[in-house]
Symmetry: D2
């Protein structure tokens, strides 16, 4: 299914499962996508930064998209296609759309500085992949060191009809959501979906500022779904209650560089992944870190039975 | 009192109080330092990044140190002296030590890249300020974009006997604390105080990894003191319980660029500061953000009566 | 004399002379400014990046401006006032203007990224120093890592009537000069002086693109004056001939980090400075580098007798 | 032919020829490699930063290596294989070695900061591509923003026997060559080839400091060969004479972002390339810039008849 500007809900960022010897663990991949579909995800993102995409061979990337498409029950698949050159971006984008992807996600290269450079980059990317492919802007200054103002995002959206979503991952970013929604209310920005990232660290308030959902990873994506649902239903306290119960672990998982190891470790403990291995080069958790995660899980389980593992 | 490698506990990073028209609010400054002393702080840090130091006139900086010294009851005062040149650093360092400061804190300039450049910079800084002034290394890659490995910190500590403390603000940084304490256990690193930053976002586990306390800001520094005390007393669950209760607000305050406005707003509501004004240029909170903070305070008050304000 | 948008010609960036023990060498400073005035400089810039400004005590900075004012025969003095905070910037700016400076030069801090951040920064700087002080924009992305588009420069100029000059130091930057002059021809940008930097490495063509002169350093500022004069007189080949003769040495002096040592070494050999010392921390030339400079000087002397030293 | 640590001379960085509609111009590619072989190049580098490598499809990259191998008469071909992930790096490296490449060149990703990170990265890269493939370290801080000290380079060389060459492109970098050769003389560093970059801007002195040659681009690679030959023959003045004659143009071509357009424009005028087109996105020269290059060529032709075009 093609992604549209009306998208919303939770699109987990899928980790790529590996066996301890570095091969892709396809059984776990299938189970992972079934899990995402089963808990009510509205779609999934593969080959994102947290998906270890640059470590994959081209045919592995393609196969992963196929598996996601097969298991996600028609829900839209977003595929990260960021690349140092437009040739590779175009090639991957067109290939995965043919396989049933719903959109591609494009992050700006870290060399971009000025407003015009950023706007031009997206124009060139759209020209490269074709105007028929829906795309998601990834706005993630903490890691990419490219800063997009709301006005720059507006220019990209208004210039490119195929832009359907903003993966909002600025930090801090609450006012940015409010500003973009104000642009929309004023009529200077057409409606696009805004799904937030940052591991969900501000999802409680992002929803209240006008986000449509989350496009991020966390070992308990059910929590993201809970917060989005409670929020959309106007149950503010309920949204914050469940969010706050998860916040100690969610914060722990949000650590740059360590976060993926935490996520995979918990998802292994949950039985979703067979192994928490990362393909080389990748850092594992120390015994101290594992014990900390176990402690956080035990504390979480008092509030959320899903954490009893 | 001079700072020594045996320091520990909580040294709040003091915001600088201003009146709405931009003058320093000396009455609030006095009240603030009395407050810090009254709750049992082990010292205080002034002219830090969150102290709006670059906006102060030289005589204002000096007066602020005097006020801190007068009110902190002999507890050590750490003074941020980071500067683009060693002339200004030396001048401020020697002046504040004469006024009773206990140590100075030095952050590396963001242009440093290699291990040797960082080590050389600290050697030059020590030569500039004099070897008789105790100093604190500020290790804050997220903002300063200088990455110090544990081995580099060890070289600085071992090369410079006047280094007494590490303000540990790497992120993530739990393994860094463990590694430094391992160096110390192995005998390759002498004992220094390690106090952590990052607004306390990982203080619960940092204490367990070997930190001696916190050198950071939060609108409820009592929470930092609680966590440090429970941790040192071996009351792990109690430390996490009170920490987790504050985490939603603490996380909100930890937002880069917005955090100081949140901190001042809450400290104003608590009656510690008369105004939450920042000297220009400085961002205030939107109405939406204030309402969010109020909501977080109301939720926190259910767990911690000190938040009933 | 106040700097105006009609300024032009050559404003050498003055190095600060030191004795080998690190004191300012005021005799050499006087001789240096007399030299600049004597060769027909149209002004001078002090406390620039190459003036070792951050190593100076406040009273030394002020005294240096006084000396320049006393010796430059009424020619405008530009004073670098870039600082991490507006308090120090305002204080220095107002002080040096009282002493007879003609303008201040302001570089953007390296943390700025978006167009709006840059424009806002200059608005705040002007508010801090006062709208009555003429100022120069320093556009130097290679060192400052802030990228200003021509449109951003236009916004700063049009928003701030006290902006009188652009120190153009983008690299490459020929098209930027052409674009700014086109803006001016079209009426969207008022006339400001454009003086170029980068050690003069592209001065030959910068003049042809519309620059008004050079605001940069080189051990033979007479060469910069020659190129500007020949260029303004329409003697293209003569401008390039003398420029090309100096290019091997000029290029050598343009090396980041080493350049100042080369410049001081040559100016010492020329008898303008008594010593080529830099205040600590500062790198000297190796014997190999000195021999290379000597060789370049010997080769240059065949074309330009001023290099017979 | 495999590249060895005894390599030396000139390895031009080959631009990739395109037709105006963006296809690879294979006829020009063949002519280009014949030209390089004909003038006495000691090898060639393809898929470098200036080769527009990220814009090529995988099969185009491979074909380009084949063409180079076919035309270079057995001289070693260095292939740039830098990539955001090791999967792509390994895949391309193994493929091109099978096609007859002599070595691969690996640049560090710009996210690396500490000495250990850089050393670890190269260890991982070698593990990925295999220890049987000779590789070249690309040390280019100006563009890559990774700073390698001589000691770091030594660690990489000593740790990895398959390292055969340093593409030295630090700026400034003369002392770095001297330091590395001193390491070698002292016995702490084994012999590797050092070939320099930066468009040749310091080739005159780099040779005198101990470089083995040049691995860089310039529209007249004959000049690079002349300088290397005169230098190796001890004809210092002759080396500088021809170098200085080319310096005005060489400097013009060395402008970041514009340089490739200049190089292709001149090589088109020389009849080596049929078109000066770059594949999108790529900047062309303005009419003003073309006229400046033409003027520089006319001036150069007075000293070097090869520039009469």
């Amino acid at each position: 299914m093609r992604l549209t500007p009306d998208a919303g809900g939770v699109f987990p960022i899928a980790p790529t499962p590996f066996t301890p010897d570095g091969a892709i663990d396809w059984t776990s991949a299938d189970r992972l996508f079934e899990f995402y579909a089963g808990i009510g995800s509205d779609g999934v993102t593969v080959l994102g930064i947290m998906g270890e995409a640059p470590k994959l061979e081209p045919d592995e990337s393609v196969e992963l998209v196929k598996r996601a498409a097969a298991k996600m029950g028609g829900k839209p698949i977003i595929v990260g296609v960021s690349a140092p050159g437009f040739a590779a971006m175009r090639s991957l984008a067109r290939q995965v759309m043919d396989l049933g992807a719903g959109a591609v996600m494009i992050a700006p290269p870290s060399s971009l500085r000025t407003d015009d450079q950023i706007v031009t980059y997206y124009a060139q990317a759209v020209e490269a992949i074709g105007t028929d492919i829906p795309f998601v802007i990834q706005d993630y200054p903490l890691t990419l060191s490219v800063v997009m103002t709301p006005a720059v995002i507006r220019r990209i959206v208004q210039d490119n009809p195929s832009c359907v979503m903003l993966k909002h991952e600025d930090w801090p970013g609450l006012e940015k959501i409010s500003t973009l929604r104000k642009f929309q209310a004023e009529g200077s920005l057409r409606k696009i979906a805004i799904l937030t990232g940052n591991g969900g660290l501000f999802l409680d308030f992002e929803m209240e500022r006008g986000a449509d959902g989350a496009n991020t990873g966390y070992a308990f994506p059910e929590l993201l779904i809970d917060v989005v649902r409670f929020s959309k239903a106007g149950q503010r306290d309920a949204a914050h209650d469940i969010f706050d119960a998860h916040l100690p672990l969610l914060r722990y998982e949000q650590q740059q560089g360590v976060g993926l190891a935490v996520r995979k470790y918990v998802m292994m403990k949950r039985g979703i992944l067979t192994s928490d291995a990362q393909r080389k080069p990748g850092a594992g958790l120390t015994a101290a870190a594992k014990a900390e995660v176990d402690y956080l899980l035990a504390r979480l389980a008092k509030h959320d039975p899903r954490a009893k593992i």
